[in-house]
Symmetry: C2
Subunit: 130 residues, 2 copies
DNA sequence: TGAAATATATGTCCGAAACATATTAAATTG
DNA sequence: CAATTTAATATGTTTCGGACATATATTTCA
């Protein structure tokens, strides 16, 4: 909770907490889909590129990414195949399906709607003098 | 998960899911603080006015509101006292403390930052041709 | 040879909040 | 007046996402 950092008066940490809006909101799904739209990638690679997607909150955990990938495949949003790289262990390369592309579009529309709502909040906050 | 509604092809329900960005993100704290900034109110009243705050996602559960109120009081963001109304049972009226007012300002700044990030996402999405 | 990096995967735990139910008191209705 | 509904606050239980930790295999590097 925010209390911990609030007690030390660590404003930066607090900001992070509030940008994140609490636990459990890592935007894992849209991050993965967004990166895969640029082209196929394997899990570890996705992990590394996760930060390139401008979405709020801290970056997701490794385990969460792999688990999400399998769930996305079950849903048919991505497909995968094992490939053998010249160096290093086997890689499971994922690519976006057309269904996945549509899902990403849906996320994007939701985000657009969300921005509008948040802007109304900000306007209202400013207009109602404290 | 989204799967349920996705299977029936219910786009509206899907949108709701994605606006909400998954479970566990009800913005309960900022909603409460925002309403209390307008003046003191008791829990049941807050419940009813919850929808007046333009924040994304479905409205929070009754139980969640009361529990959150007690946690907010523990944190010193609100204070409460029992009052007896002419009609109906006792009411526990909450009011915002100065600490609570600061917390709301923090939320607002976080939301401002979040809007900026989300806008960058939208621009990037549009710029990277599908 | 042993450590570090690459890559994927699972086990366990925690916290936020839904869903359901309990409790009290007062108001309304039959 | 008894029975039901509404106002108001509160708790018990469950679910679910994701953190944190750990496991496993392979390859590279010191």
């Amino acid at each position: 909770m925010a209390g911990r950092s609030a007690k030390r008066g660590d404003l930066l940490a607090d900001m992070n907490f509030y940008i994140r809006e609490g636990p459990g909101k890592r935007f894992i799904e849209p991050r993965i889909l967004f990166i895969l739209r640029r082209g196929p990638a394997h899990g570890y690679e996705l992990m590394r590129k996760m930060g390139e997607v401008p979405l709020p909150g801290p970056l997701p955990d490794v385990g969460a990414v792999y688990r999400k990938l399998r769930r996305l495949e079950e849903e048919g949003l991505v497909s995968s195949r094992w490939t053998r790289a010249e160096r290093g262990p086997q890689r499971k390369v994922y690519r976006l399906t057309s269904k996945g592309r549509k899902r990403l579009a849906l996320w994007t529309e939701a985000i657009r709607a969300r921005v509008a709502i948040l802007q109304r909040f900000l306007e209202l906050y400013d207009s109602e003098a404290s």
